[in-house]
């Protein structure tokens, strides 16, 4: 209920955050919305000695249009991401999925950067960013670097972020949806949870680019099917250049290569089954069928 003691620093720039991380090393953690970190600290499952609060760093908040991509500040709250006009217009899947994170109060504080850096494979946003082939922008003492989503998530609650790096932004591609049924992207995030507040048992994110009567490209990423979010590559391959009717068979491959966890809500075989069913449903919704 009560966290162990720690020192609290508020910084107003990414550089100051990095400097504080360098100074305090392993004992320091970045604090944004606190809705991944504080619950762990209250149960004394985590006890950093220093918290560096970046939630008011203006440079890390907001959404900007980069032409082909959107750059989203790491400290942008889930609420703001879900409601942002640029995100809604150009990366609807992110808006849709972010609206399912937690509950309204959580979405008013939790941030996209916090969720991604926390890297819970049962969380929704790592899956979305992986499906989008997004980039994570990290700043360290040697400057900034862009990390591909496919390289970012290493293990359960572990990313490639160095102890002296802070995630400053997320870059996602714009998905043109304006071609209607003949071209452009369709998308859907199919989330399966037992009660509204619960984490997804499994979820499937489907992005499908139509190319006249066939599927030009499909991206499918899965939540809670491993220690990190995973891409259903067999499904994706089966759909490249295929007709819409191929969805069912392709979805049947969704769990290939996955090693889903067992927990209170599901054993691995059920998770594999859900991955197939949810992927099929997500693809159907994405295609508008």
């Amino acid at each position: 209920m009560i966290p162990a003691t720690f020192d609290y620093l508020r910084v107003d720039s990414p550089e100051a955050a990095v400097a504080a991380l360098v100074e305090h090393g392993d004992e320091a953690k970045i604090l944004a919305g606190g809705h991944s970190l504080l619950p762990l600290m209250r149960l004394r499952l985590a006890y950093p000695e220093v918290l560096i609060d970046v939630s008011r760093v203006d440079a890390m908040r907001g959404v900007s249009d980069e032409g082909d991509t959107l750059l989203i500040g790491a400290c942008t709250t889930h609420h703001d991401v879900a409601h942002d006009p640029l995100v809604r217009a150009h990366c609807g899947i992110l808006s849709q999925a972010t609206a399912t994170v937690g509950d309204p109060q959580v979405r008013h504080r939790g941030t996209i950067g916090g969720a991604l850096a926390h890297a819970d494979a049962a969380g929704d946003l790592p899956t979305i960013v992986l499906a989008l082939d997004g980039q994570l922008v990290a700043q360290g003492p040697n400057g900034s670097r862009n990390i591909a989503a496919a390289d970012f998530f290493v293990d359960y609650l572990q990313t490639v972020l160095e102890p002296d790096e802070v995630l400053t932004a997320v870059r996602v591609p714009k998905l043109a949806t304006d071609g209607g049924r003949r071209s452009g992207w369709g998308y859907h995030y199919e989330k399966f949870n037992r009660v509204a507040q619960a984490w997804a048992i499994v979820a499937s994110c489907a992005l499908v680019r139509r190319d006249n009567d066939t599927i030009g490209e499909a991206r499918v990423a899965l939540t809670n099917m491993g220690t990190t979010p995973v891409r259903a590559t067999a499904t994706e391959s089966a759909l490249a250049g295929a007709a819409a009717a191929a969805v069912a068979d392709a979805a049947a491959l969704a769990a290939d290569g996955t090693d889903p966890p067992a927990d209170l809500n599901a054993k691995p075989d059920y998770r594999r089954h859900l991955a197939q069913v949810l992927t099929r449903r997500a693809l159907e919704r994405a295609l508008g069928t």
Binding site: M1, A122, P261, N265
Partner: protein, 828 residues
């Protein structure tokens, strides 16, 4: 995730748009808005954790992380070095004063009753068992200090599964030599003949999973001592201030008359606060030792270990019937998990259900046997329904199974066997006398509201077309025994206390009314309802009645609130006490009006002489005259007060018919409640708004047991569903809209004609939902789904679907799943 039918809901709501206006002449029966609300909606309530006293210190409890271990050593000295800490005590430091926590129900003469120290001294027996306390200036320092206490544990085997426990291979209480707490049998009628002569016998095993009551207010206690006078005021988030006062005196040896117990505002109980807890005793003793006010408040995850759990039974049920459906006999073999110790009512809970397995049905013979079993888990005790939901579940489930066996419509099977309206009062095979009821009327109304025939037709269509979403209809026709309880019956069952309730009605010199009740409300609206009763009885305004409760100094006599007893016993006591006031006031009025008592009429709050309406005295005028005592009858004491202690002559037996329609997504196993209709009969109704609210809340908890909640222990005795992240208490999107209605068949065992309602929704709804789930999948070869009917369980049932009639013995912990989850690194 539940679908809401807007039309159905709109109709239901239209009925409730009328709200009683202040000048309604008759209060009882009106949907008066609650007096309780003003402070609750403005954040001005007084929860126990709000209380602050000068010099108050915060207590925290160190709890065993092991399910079973010997305490090899314990050293609290380092805790004293933590900044802000004033004291630290191990179990041994306080053992002499702490005593043993009481169990008020020795259900059999040879019941095994282990010592239950509030803080363990030698051995811990469940994860959460307290071993030490720290006392600090603030709760943050207290939390830190716990980590400084050094305890060495020598592990002992955990005993988690009931059937394994019964082998006595590993003992929870080595000094007792057995894990069997008691065996309690009951039999009536020629059971052998009923079964040997029956044409059909159906046997099933059902599992009542363990539940965590989760009142939203965590438990808290504040003890404020007056050290020099050796007096103690105990504020506790409790349902039972009176019983607690007595038990604290008996447990600690502190003089009963020096104790005052106050239940301030209490944020829900559902039975989990019907208890005498270690922390209450410890806080009292520590307050005595230190001479300072002491506060303890549980955190939620702490409370999940330290507050009693509900249910946890293995039910083996056998029913014998003729081919035409007529029930011959019922056999029940129950194993009930006590947990590691006996809390206040632990062994009696399954027995409260013993009398309800025959339910609303007639039969020739009934045999019941319950074995209480110790395990190294948190103790179980009362949770909404306390024994009766378990019984209702078993009988309503097996009725559906029997119907399938007979090829009979499940509702028809029930009709053929239930007690008809003309047969009341009815002596059941379990030895109860049901005073009144009308199962036909409630059922007919429910069927109409539900659209039963249309839903059956839709079910058929979906089956024929092999729809992904299958429709199921679940029925639950129930009665329950509440209004606890006739004291003689409690005595015959060896329960230590009685079941009466006390009320005092006092008319103040200005004509205002004070009602002192022994009930202890925690959300049920007694202040409003008793005001309605008193206002009608005394002919005064609803607003002129003040109801006092929950403080043993203000309301010295009471048996508190649980078991849907308060209206039936306490509300009736208020009515009776008011009647005594009127009787006395009549005498005074006659005297003042110089008339014969027999000529005095009482109407609308005034006493007048028959035939001379202008000669009258209001109740207030009488009260003032009594206060002044200038001119009273010679033998009369100047006191316009009526007191009653009412001992009911029977339980009360509300009943109802609940119908549930579910859609099951056969691909994923997800269950969605499409429609829930219930018609309940709680006798005469004092406040229909409060009644409906109680039904709603009960339904939500019963549905939660059917679909969402389960307290799971792993093979090492760890509570793996230890927080609200994993223990799935449903939120608003997870609960459907209900259609509720009533019939009204007055009780004949009390003057108000009322029956209890607090637990009815929970008792009825769980089998309604599970019957619906099984009904949806019956054609796929499914004959049972174990609760909670999670998507995974439903999916596996569909794929197991081999029509197996009686599932094999199921252990109470799903070890395989949990071994895997141990390696999954904490999962979600």
């Amino acid at each position: 995730m539940s679908k809401i039918d807007p039309e159905v809901v709109a109709d239901e709501l239209a009925e409730h748009d009328q709200v009683a206006t202040p000048d309604t002449s008759r209060q009882v029966g009106a949907a008066r808005l609650r007096k309780e609300d003003a402070q609750l909606v403005t954040g001005q309530a007084t929860w126990t954790d709000n209380l602050v006293f000068p010099g108050m210190l915060h207590m925290a409890v160190l709890r065993s992380p092991m399910a079973h271990a010997r305490i090899a050593s314990i050293d609290v000295s380092a805790a004293l070095q933590v900044s802000g800490v004033m004291a630290a005590f191990s179990g041994a430091d306080l053992a002499a004063e702490l005593g043993s926590l009481p169990c008020a129900w020795p259900v059999t003469e040879d019941m095994v009753s282990p010592q239950h120290p509030p803080l363990a001294t030698e051995e811990v027996r469940y994860v959460g068992d307290g071993v030490a306390v720290v006392v600090a200036r603030d709760r943050y320092s207290a939390a830190d200090a716990l980590e400084a206490i050094a305890v060495e544990y020598e592990p002992l085997p955990a005993v988690v599964d009931m059937e394994t426990a019964l082998t006595d291979n590993e003992l929870v209480h080595a000094d007792k030599g057995t894990n069997t707490c008691f065996v309690w049998p009951f039999s009536n009628g020629d059971v052998d003949a009923a079964f040997s002569g029956a044409e059909v016998v159906v046997e099933r095993r059902f599992i009542q999973q363990r539940l965590l009551p989760t009142a939203i207010e965590p438990r808290a206690v504040v003890v404020a001592p007056i050290a020099a006078a050796d007096e103690y005021t105990v504020y506790s988030s409790t349902q039972i201030p009176h019983i607690l006062k007595l038990m604290l005196a008996l447990t600690t040896g502190l003089p009963e008359h020096k104790l005052r117990v106050i239940a301030p505002d209490v944020g829900g109980g559902f039975g989990s606060k019907l208890n005498v807890y270690a922390e209450e005793v410890i806080a009292l003793i520590v307050a005595k030792r230190l001479g300072r006010p002491i506060k303890w408040t549980e955190s939620r995850s702490e409370g999940y270990q330290a507050t009693i759990h509900g249910r946890d039974q293995i039910q083996d049920i056998t029913v014998a019937a003729d081919r035409d459906g007529r029930l011959r006999g019922l056999k029940v073999d129950l194993k009930a998990d006590m947990g590691a110790y006996l809390q206040l009512v632990t062994p009696g809970i399954p027995l409260l259900g013993a009398f309800m397995y025959p339910a609303i049905y007639k039969m020739d013979a009934y045999d019941f046997r319950c074995t209480g079993v110790f395990t190294t888990k948190t103790p179980t005790d009362a949770y909404r329904g306390a024994g009766r939901p378990e019984a209702t579940f078993a009988i309503e489930r097996i009725m559906d199974e029997l119907a399938v066996e007979l090829g009979m419509e499940p509702l028809e099977l029930r009709r053929r066997n239930w007690i008809t309206a003309a047969e009341f009062p009815y002596d059941t095979i379990a030895g109860l006398t049901y005073d009144s009821g009308n199962y036909e009327a409630a059922t007919d109304k429910a069927l109409e509201l539900f659209g039963y025939d249309e839903l059956r037709a839709e079910q058929t269509r979906r089956r024929e077309s092999g729809d992904r979403a299958q429709l199921g209809i679940g029925i639950s026709t129930f009665t329950e025994m509440c209004g606890l309880a006739p004291s003689r019956v409690l005595g015959s069952l060896s329960y230590a206390a009685g079941g009466w309730e006390a009320a005092t009605v006092r008319v103040l010199p200005t004509g205002k009314i004070e009602v002192v009740t022994g009930t202890s409300p925690h959300g049920q609206g007694h202040v409003t309802a008793w005001s309605q009763i008193a206002a009608d009885a005394l002919g005064v305004a609803f607003e002129d009645v003040e109801v006092l409760h929950g403080d043993t100094q203000v309301a010295p006599m009471g048996m508190d609130t649980y078991g849907s007893r308060s209206l039936v016993v306490g509300g009736v006591a208020v009515q009776m006490a008011a009647g005594k006031v009127i009787d006395k006031a009549k005498r005074v009025a006659a005297h003042l009006l110089e008339a014969a008592e027999g000529d005095i009429e009482f109407l609308d709050g005034a006493f007048s002489v028959r035939g001379s309406p202008e000669a009258s005295k209001t109740l207030g005028e009488v009260a003032l005259a009594v206060f002044a005592a200038h001119d009273l009858p010679d033998d009369m004491e100047p006191d316009l007060t009526g007191s009653t202690v009412f001992d009911p002559e029977n339980f009360s037996f509300p009943h109802g018919t609940h119908l549930c329609a579910v859609e099951v997504d056969t691909e994923t196993g997800m269950v969605d409640i499409r429609s829930y209709v219930c018609v309940d009969d709680v006798g005469k109704v004092v406040n229909p708004m409060i009644v409906e609210g109680q039904v709603h809340g009960g339904l939500a908890q019963g549905i939660a047991q059917a679909l969402y909640e389960e307290a799971i222990y792993d093979s090492e005795g760890n509570l793996v569903t230890g927080t609200l992240v994993d223990y799935l208490v449903p939120g608003a999107p997870d609960i459907p809209a209900f259609v509720t209605d009533r019939t009204e068949t007055p009780a004949t065992s009390n003057a108000l004609g009322v029956k209890g309602v607090g637990e009815a929704g929970t008792i009825a709804s769980t089998p309604a939902v599970v019957n619906a789930v099984v009904d949806a999948l019956r054609h796929l070869g499914v004959s049972d789904v174990r609760m909670p009917c999670s998507p995974e369980r439903v999916w596996r049932a569909i794929h197991a679907g081999d029509g197996q009639a009686a599932p094999a013995a199921v252990p109470s912990a799903d070890h395989e799943t949990l071994r895997q989850s141990d390696s999954a690194g904490g999962g979600q």
